[in-house]
C-alpha cells in the first residue's frame, strides 16, 4: 500500500484542539499529500487525521496531538496501522457496524471530513455542482413539485415545508426577488450549521443556486454571524471559486440562468436569526422583527418577494436533486422526512455532530450514538431546541425524533442543539439560565417579551435563592401565557418553553426549592450547607487551611466545625477533604 492522502480535520473544533501544528508537521514531511478537511462529527476525538492508501484503505485516527505526531509519521512511513488510536478503519466490522456509525445516515454531512472545503475540485469530484446542472435542464415547476414530494421541511426551527415555501415565492409576481441563507445560528448549544459551512461550503451555495432557479431570483445573500470567522473565510473562498468557474454569475451552464451570492456579516444580535429581523439587518437597520403577514414570500428584503432558508435546509437540496425525491422521502417518518443533524453537548460522552434519520428515538441518539452520560452518571434531561425548546426527562427517552412527537412533549425540534444533563444538574437553574438568555437577547420591542420575561427571571432567581413563595409556580405559568401570546416574533412566543417544560417534568424540584428550601442537585448555592461529620473528621486541618474565608475552626487532630455565618459555600472544604467528612446538603 502507498499512502495517497492524509487529511487533517481543520474545522474550528479541530484547530482549537491543536490541529494546526499537526497539519504543519505532517505537511513538512509528506508535502502535498496532506490536506485540510472539515469535521466528521467526532469533535470529542479531535485532532483527527485520516490516512488513505492507493488500495482504497482508510484509517481515521483520533486524539492526534503534537506529541503523537512524530509517532504517527513513523506509522505512516512504515505503512502500519495503529489500531488503538483508530476511530474508524474502513472494512473493519467493529467500526463499520458500531452503533455510532450504523445508526447514522449522512446526507447533509456527506462531505464533512471527506473533502477539502477550500478545494472546488474536490467538491466536484464528490459530485458537486452536478445537481445544479441537472436542475437547469428541467423546469422550476417540476423542481418545486419534487421538493414538495421529498417532504423536506425547514431545518431552521419552524419546520415549514421547503418546496411549499419556494412555490409561494415563485408565485409572487415581481421584477426582483431575493434568496437568503440564514447562517446566523445562535441557539446555545447549536453548531451544526457552522460545521457544514466550515466543512462543505459549496453544498450550501449549490443549494441556494437551485432555490434561486426555483423561485426566479438572481440574487442571493448569506447572512452569517460574525462569531464564525472560519466559516466566513471558507464561504468567501467558495463563492469566489464558484464565480471564477462559472457556477455563479451570468448564464450558468449556458442555460440563461443568472445567480450571484453575497455575504453579509451579523454583529452579535441573536434576534437577527429571526427572518424578518435578519432582513432588516441586511438592509442596514437595527435588526428588529416585524409583524407577519406579510410573509417574506410576498414582501421581504427591500419589500421584494424573498425566500429564506436555513443552512442545513440548503445543504440537503443538491442531494435530493441528484438522488431523487423518492429516496429522500423513504427516510424518516410519515410527516418528517429525511435526516436531521444534531449537535450533542453537555454531559454526554461523544460530543460533536451526528446525522440521524427522523424517527430515531432520543435514547438511540443519546446512548447508542452519543455513548451515554459522562462518568457514567445518571441521565436527567436533554434540553432540545435551545431557548425556544424544552427539557425532556428520562421517562420520555423513547419519543421518536420527529417534529410532531417532539412538539407533543412541549419541546420543539428546533435547530438541532441537544444539551444533555446529568443527575447533578438543577432544572430550576437550567430554566433560569435559558430565561436569562432570552432577557438579554430580547430586542425590547414587545412589552411582554421585554418585561414579562424579566419578571419570570426574577421569580426563578428568587426560587434558586431560597426565597420562593408557594404561589410562584402558578405565577410563572400565568406570565408564560402572557409572554407567549403578547409577543410578535418567535423569540418571545417560545421563550417560556424551557420554564414550562421544566415545571411540567420536574415540578418536585421546584417544590423542594420553594417549600423545603433545598436544591436536590446541590447546585443552587444559597440553598447549600456544608457541615463536618465529627465521626469522620480526623482533624487534619486541610479544610481549614483551604477555606478562603477562614470559616473552619478546630484544633489539630480534633473534629473541626464550619461556622455557618462565615461560610460562602464555595465547596473548597468538600473538594479537599480526604476522609469524606464534609457533608454537602
Amino acid at each position: 500500500m502507498n499512502v495517497t492522502k492524509i487529511k487533517v480535520g481543520m474545522a474550528s473544533c479541530g484547530i482549537a484542539a491543536g490541529a494546526a501544528p499537526v497539519f504543519k508537521a505532517l505537511s513538512d514531511k509528506f508535502g502535498g499529500k496532506v490536506e485540510k478537511t472539515g469535521c466528521i462529527g467526532m469533535c470529542y476525538r479531535e485532532p483527527i487525521v485520516e490516512v488513505l492508501g492507493d488500495d482504497g484503505s482508510s484509517v481515521i485516527y483520533g486524539d492526534i496531538n503534537e506529541k503523537r505526531t512524530a509517532e504517527l509519521i513513523a506509522i505512516i512511513e512504515n505503512e502500519e496501522v495503529r489500531k488503538e488510536w483508530a476511530v474508524f478503519i474502513k472494512g473493519a466490522p467493529e467500526f463499520e457496524q458500531s452503533l455510532y456509525n450504523s445508526k447514522q445516515v449522512k446526507i447533509v454531512m456527506r462531505n464533512l471530513g471527506r473533502i477539502n472545503p477550500e478545494s472546488l475540485d474536490e467538491y466536484i469530484a464528490a459530485g458537486g455542482w452536478e445537481a445544479l446542472k441537472k436542475t437547469l435542464a428541467g423546469t422550476p415547476e417540476n423542481l418545486i413539485e419534487d421538493m414538495i414530494r421529498s417532504g423536506l421541511r425547514g431545518r431552521g426551527g419552524a419546520g415549514f415545508p421547503t418546496g411549499l415555501k419556494w412555490k409561494f415565492a415563485r408565485a409572487s409576481d415581481s421584477d426582483k426577488k431575493y434568496l437568503i441563507c440564514n447562517a446566523d445560528e445562535g441557539d446555545p448549544g447549536a453548531f451544526m450549521d457552522r460545521s457544514v459551512l466550515e466543512g462543505d461550503p459549496h453544498s450550501v451555495l449549490e443549494g441556494m443556486a437551485i432555490a434561486g432557479f426555483a423561485i426566479g431570483s438572481d440574487t442571493g445573500f448569506i447572512y452569517v454571524r460574525a462569531e464564525y470567522p472560519l466559516a466566513i473565510k471558507r464561504l468567501e473562498i467558495a463563492v469566489s471559486q464558484a464565480r471564477n468557474a462559472g457556477y455563479l454569475g451570468k448564464n450558468i451552464f449556458g442555460k440563461g440562468f443568472d445567480f450571484n451570492i453575497e455575504l453579509k456579516k451579523g454583529a452579535g444580535a441573536f434576534v437577527c436569526g429571526e427572518e424578518t429581523a435578519l432582513m432588516r439587518s441586511i438592509e442596514g437597520n437595527r435588526g428588529m422583527p416585524t409583524l407577519k403577514p406579510p410573509f417574506p414570500a410576498q414582501s421581504g428584503l427591500w419589500r421584494k418577494p424573498t425566500n429564506i432558508n436555513n443552512v442545513e435546509t440548503f445543504a440537503n437540496v443538491p442531494w435530493i436533486v441528484l438522488n431523487g425525491w423518492e429516496k429522500y422521502a423513504a427516510i424518516g417518518t410519515e410527516k418528517s422526512k429525511g435526516t436531521k443533524v444534531f449537535a450533542l453537548t453537555g454531559k454526554i460522552k461523544n460530543t460533536g455532530t451526528v446525522e440521524v434519520p427522523m424517527g430515531i428515538t432520543l435514547r438511540e441518539v443519546i446512548f447508542d450514538i452519543g455513548g451515554g452520560i459522562r462518568n457514567d452518571k445518571k441521565f436527567k434531561a436533554v434540553q432540545i431546541g435551545g431557548p425556544s425548546g424544552g427539557c425532556i426527562p428520562a421517562s420520555l427517552l423513547d419519543v421518536p425524533v420527529d417534529y410532531d412527537s417532539l412538539n407533543r412533549t412541549g419541546a420543539i425540534m428546533g435547530s438541532g442543539g441537544m444539551v444533555v444533563m446529568d443527575e447533578n444538574t438543577c432544572m430550576v437553574d437550567v430554566a433560569r439560565f435559558f430565561l436569562n438568555f432570552v432577557v438579554e437577547e430580547s430586542c425590547g420591542k414587545c412589552t411582554f417579551c421585554r418585561l414579562g420575561n424579566k419578571r419570570m427571571l426574577e421569580i426563578l432567581t428568587r426560587i434558586t435563592e431560597g426565597k420562593g413563595k408557594e404561589s410562584d409556580i402558578e405565577e410563572l405559568e400565568k406570565l408564560a401565557g402572557q409572554v407567549r401570546n403578547g409577543s410578535l416574533c418567535g423569540l418571545g412566543q417560545t421563550a417560556p418553553n424551557p420554564v414550562l417544560t421544566s415545571i411540567k417534568y420536574f415540578r418536585d424540584e421546584y417544590i423542594a426549592h420553594i417549600k423545603e428550601k433545598k436544591c436536590p442537585s446541590h447546585v443552587c448555592k444559597s440553598l447549600l450547607s456544608f457541615t463536618i461529620d465529627a465521626g469522620k473528621c480526623t482533624g487534619c486541618t486541610l479544610c481549614a487551611r483551604n477555606c478562603p474565608v477562614k470559616a473552619v475552626e478546630g484544633e489539630v487532630k480534633k473534629p473541626h466545625l464550619i461556622e455557618q455565618a462565615k461560610c460562602i459555600k464555595c465547596g473548597k472544604c468538600y473538594d479537599v477533604c480526604r476522609f469524606d467528612a464534609v457533608i454537602k446538603d
Binding site: A190, F191, V430
Partner: protein, 151 residues
C-alpha cells in the same frame, strides 16, 4: 485609512454593517470613532444618530476604544455546565480587569459572549478571531502570555 475602506463599497445603506466591521477592525482599538461615524454618514447619506442607533443594537460594535484583542468568553449553557464561571474568574485574575474593561497596556478587552457555537470544546473563548476550547487555569495563562509576547 477610512477612505480606503469606503472605496471598496457602493454608497448604499445595506453596506453599513460591513463598513463598520471593516473600520472597527482596522482601527487597532476595535472601535469606530466619532470622526469615522461622521465620515461614514457623509458617504452613505445617513445622520450620526441613525448610525449610532444601528451601532448600539449590535453587541460587537463599539463607539469606545477597546483592546487590540477582544477576548470573548462564552457564557451560554453548554459552557456554563462545563465551568465557564471559573474560566471567567481566572481570566479576570490573569488580566487584572473586570468584564467590560480594557487592560492598561491596551492589549485586551474582556467581554462575555452569547454562544460561540463551539460547544464541543466547552468551556470556550475567542481571542480576536481565534477560538480556544477545553479551557482551564493553566491553558488560560499560557494563551494570554502568548498574546502578550506577540504584542
Amino acid at each position: 485609512m477610512i477612505s480606503e475602506i469606503l472605496k471598496k463599497y457602493e454608497p448604499k445603506k445595506e453596506n453599513l454593517l460591513s463598513i463598520l466591521h471593516d473600520v472597527q477592525e482596522s482601527s487597532g482599538k476595535n472601535y469606530v470613532s466619532t470622526e469615522s461615524v461622521l465620515e461614514i454618514g457623509k458617504f452613505l447619506g445617513m445622520t450620526r444618530s441613525e448610525i449610532n442607533g444601528v451601532m448600539t443594537f449590535y453587541t460587537m460594535l463599539s463607539e469606545e476604544p477597546r483592546g487590540k484583542y477582544i477576548i470573548r468568553i462564552c457564557v451560554s449553557a453548554p459552557c456554563h455546565v462545563a465551568g465557564s464561571v471559573s474560566v471567567k474568574e481566572e481570566l479576570k485574575k490573569v488580566l487584572g480587569i473586570d468584564v467590560g474593561e480594557t487592560t492598561g497596556d491596551g492589549l485586551f478587552t474582556l467581554e462575555e459572549s452569547a454562544c460561540l457555537g463551539v460547544c464541543d470544546i466547552a468551556p470556550a473563548m475567542m481571542v480576536g478571531k481565534d477560538v480556544y476550547g477545553g479551557l482551564d487555569g493553566h491553558k488560560i495563562k499560557k494563551i494570554i502570555s502568548e498574546y502578550r509576547s506577540r504584542k
